[in-house]
């Protein structure tokens, strides 16, 4: 296996370049962070960068499923959100449990287990007028189970949905719309107060790690940054392994001519399902890493529009080249943060002042049209052209 990996890396030096760049970047942020370095990168910006890495991670998944397999999924942010919810449930439960136990430890008569659970329930669900734990919280106190669910819930949803959709040969725009409908259904469901996940309040306080209250956010933010960088590097390697293998050839074949692949004897539905489920799992992991850095998750995060933005990132970055997806996600999401955060200078035009907070989405939407029309290969395509010119 080791030999295989070495061989692979030697054959694909670009992977080494990417991993090296990622490592350098991680080292730079570590050195600049308030926790471990000179402190010229604020903790909130470390979080922004960490979240951006998570976006890059889900963009990789999107590129695999769309750029390589040709399935324009408008549902991968749903998997992202589900991953976040699964880990968020444990974070919220465990932290509330500690708070409740601390509060109850002063009582003369020690509380029964049921009393503790009831108190936690009231703390968590009081906001939606309940106190009982819904079924889906059955494992919320078990970290390892919830961690497994981060992978399992998006994976199984993708498996069931994908099996139904691919089996009935739904392709192209139909499939896109169907995935969008799935996302809409999920977010509408989560918006209900009795969904068991606190309705539109979502889960909050996720930035606090249970039992580690005395560790400052400066340090916690770095932990998550490292975890995100590690997950990104690993996923990049994995996805690259797939795309450069014979499997990658077949997946691209499915994108270009599904029927031909079928008549070659490949079970196209199985391959699509494999890619769909794998990318859903990557998306789930990305979400589980993202939301503890964001601190809060609510159903609005997985509304269909989020998945559309994901497609925008990947398209602008350049489909069918994994690094393109990473560049696109990083570039657009950071730019978006900059513009919507009010940091970008307004442009006075005499009678009208362009406020970027208001006009950024217009710019993004239109630039998306222009990229689709004139630069279908995105930023990555420009990059490729430069590299090729350099060779010549």
């Amino acid at each position: 296996m080791n030999g295989l990996l070495t061989k692979f890396l030697l054959k694909n030096p670009s992977v080494l370049v990417f991993l090296g760049a990622l490592a350098l970047f991680t080292a730079f942020v570590s050195v600049g962070s308030e926790a471990f370095g000179w402190g010229f990168i604020s903790t909130s910006f470390v979080k922004t960068l960490g979240k951006t890495l998570c976006f890059c991670l889900i963009a990789i998944a999107m590129d695999l499923v769309w750029g390589y397999c040709g399935i324009l999924s408008l549902g991968h942010f749903a998997f992202f959100g589900l991953g976040g919810y699964m880990l968020g449930m444990w974070l919220m439960y465990a932290r509330t449990e500690i708070i409740v136990q601390t509060a109850m430890s002063n009582e003369v008569i020690p509380p029964t287990d049921q009393e503790v659970i009831d108190a936690i329930g009231t703390q968590i669900f009081g906001v939606v007028g309940g106190s009982d734990f819904p079924m889906i919280w059955a494992f919320a106190h078990l970290f390892w189970v919830q961690l497994a669910l981060v992978v399992l819930v998006p994976g199984i949803l993708a498996l069931v949905f994908g099996w139904l959709a691919f089996r009935s040969r739904v392709t192209g725009v139909y499939l896109s719309i169907l995935t969008q409908a799935m996302t809409l259904a999920l977010s509408l469901y989560l918006f209900q107060n009795d969904s068991g996940l606190r309705g539109n309040n979502g889960l909050s306080g996720l930035q606090n790690l249970p039992g580690l209250d005395d560790v400052s956010q400066d340090i916690v933010s770095m932990w998550f940054f490292w975890a995100s960088a590690f997950a990104l590097g690993l996923s990049y390697l994995l996805v690259k392994l797939i795309t450069e293998s014979k499997l990658g050839n077949i997946v691209r074949g499915i994108r270009d001519d599904e029927a031909r692949v079928r008549f070659l004897g490949y079970n196209v539905e199985g391959y699509k399902l494999f890619v769909f489920v794998l990318t859903a799992i990557i998306a789930g992991i990305a979400g589980a890493l993202y939301y503890p850095q964001a601190g809060i998750i609510n159903p609005a995060e997985i509304a269909p529009i989020a998945s559309i933005y994901l497609a925008v990132w990947v398209a602008i970055g350049g489909r069918g080249r994994i690094y393109g997806a990473v560049i696109g996600a990083a570039f657009v999401s950071l730019l978006s943060t900059w513009f919507t955060g009010g940091q970008a200078p307004d442009i006075p035009l005499g009678i009208y002042t362009i406020k970027w907070v208001d006009w950024w989405l217009v710019l993004l939407g239109l630039s998306f049209v222009i990229v689709t029309l004139y630069f279908p290969k995105g930023i990555g395509g420009l990059f490729d052209r430069l590299v090729r010119k350099g060779d010549a």
Binding site: G70, L72, V108, I109, P110, P111, T112, D113, Q114, F161, L164, A165, R167, S168, R169, V170, G172, V173, Y174, S176, I177, L178, Q180, A181, M182, L184, A185, L186, L188, Y189, F191, Q192, D194, A259, P304, I305, I308, A311, V312, A315, D358, W359, L361, V362, L364, G365, L366, S367, F368, V369, T372, L373, P376
Partner: protein, 647 residues
Amino acid sequence: MLRVLTLFLGLLLAVPAFAQSSLYDALAEQTAGLKKPSSKTIETVISSLQDSGAPGVADFLTKLQSKEVWYRKSDDKFFFVATDDKKTYRLIDIQSGEVVAEVAKKEIKQIKPNSGVRAKIDGALVAFRLTDADPAVRDAALVGISRDPKAKDLAPLSAALASETDPDLKARMERLSRVLTVSFGDTTEARVAAIASFDGDLGLDARAVLNPLVTTTLKAAPEVGAGENVAKTLRLGNDISEEDAFDLLVASGLAQAEPTKGDIKAALKANIIGDTVGGMNVANLGTDEARLAAHMALAASGAVPAILTSEDKAALLASAAYYEVYAEADPAVTAAAVEALSSISTAVGVSQFIDLVLDGISLASIYFLAAIGLAITFGVMRVINMAHGEFIMMGAYTGYVVQQIIPNYTVSLIVAIPAAFVITFAAGVAMERLVIRHLYHRPLETLLATFGISIALQQIAKNIFGTQARPLTSPGWLDGALVFNDVIAISWIRIAIFVLAVIFFLGLLFVLNRTRLGLETRAVTQNPRMAAAMGINPDRINMLTFGLGSGIAGIAGIAIGLFAKVTSELGSDYIVQSFMTVVVGGVGNIFGTLAGATMIGFLQKGIEWFNPSNTLAAQTYMIIFIIIFIQFRPRGIIALKGRAAGD
């Protein structure tokens, strides 16, 4: 207040009187009974006044009831009285309402009827108002009674019924008297007959009067009491759980309430000695079992009341009967009411079903309007227009802007519809020319590019109109609803939308099947190269089709804006449903869209009916249903078969 009263009296006077003596004479006859009214004598007084037929009797009695009638000690004449300073009192003539004198308090005396008398007057007044010459007064009296029916109203109502001439009022009186008879009829037979007369009746009043008759209360007693109208006896453990039965025993005073876990905890807390309670270490009381044991130990020492053993509890439970008893004591009446209600609920069920169907049709019309433009562009050009929802929004905002310029709602609506069409048609043509034309045969990229346009348009609308909802007010003649009965009602706006949908359906059918444009469009759809060879310019057809689809979206926007608030997110609220409509119905024909809209509209209403409290859940289930539906009919309800539908 006084002036109003005066006016009112004046009006009463103006009513021509015939065969009637004056109020003064009538009162004079009964002076003694009036000066000191008692519940025994007042009835003769009232009936004498009623018989006299003098105008103003009702008003006089009203004033008498509210202690506003005084009499002058010197001549026993009756007056209404007003005062500002409680020193001098103005005397007001009971008929003309004019101030006739100012006197000191000692010269006059207030008549103070007791509550018994007032009640009698009240009854008499009902009769007065019900037989008043003015239909408006009779109407008001009827409304008053139906709002708060009382037993005493029944007799005057029956009496008034005989003399009522207005057919509408008579019908209402008749119905009201039946309603009253249900509750207050003298005999069981009369009540049963009245109840039976409401069989299958859809009126809310009928249900309001019948339902209380059959409401039951849960009771626990050693045995069923005599004279109790038992609806059902409950078997312990089958019809009623042991916990509920015990709670019932406690509520009926047949058992002592058991201490709750909280009570036990409190009792233990109160009896802590050192760090033990009931001989147990406090630190060990972290389980329910331990706490119970400690509590039993405390009970043994008499510190707290004992908890029942399970045998005692069982014996206690077995010692009582549990049953539901009707509020109404007469079994014949309750039986009739149950029967009438069951026939009513059948009728209501039928009506509700019709109402649901109407709701479904109206929702289907909305989906049809929202989706038909999409169906045209998607069906003809295989182009997914994700900005379709934003065209709907544009139409709605056009309507809003037109209303700001033209204040008359009817005129502005007439102007707004073509304006919306023109604007969204132009937007559609521009989009086709600038973007979509360059992306033919790349459907996924068309999807993305139109997404971009959708994002930009939505944000532009937000920048121009702000985030708050803008109203698109419908003209007055569209207000209100077409009411069939107390269950079935449909608002005029929804009827108008239905009519609009029908017009669009027929219009498009005509355009596509009977006009040159339709012919060319179909030719381009089926074989663009062949069509081009025959001199049809596919570019032009594509442009026109796209414009048409977008223009229809604009008009749909106005229709939707009339009942929903206009926001920049209006379009995105409908886009997924619109796509579902097109996909479920089958791409490429109007009948498919009709079928899809109908199915989705009815489905959503149907799901909402099962779970009315939660429209969010209804949408979730609907989308899941559609995903499953596509498994079985991937090409929609009305699918083009064979090679034409091919890849």
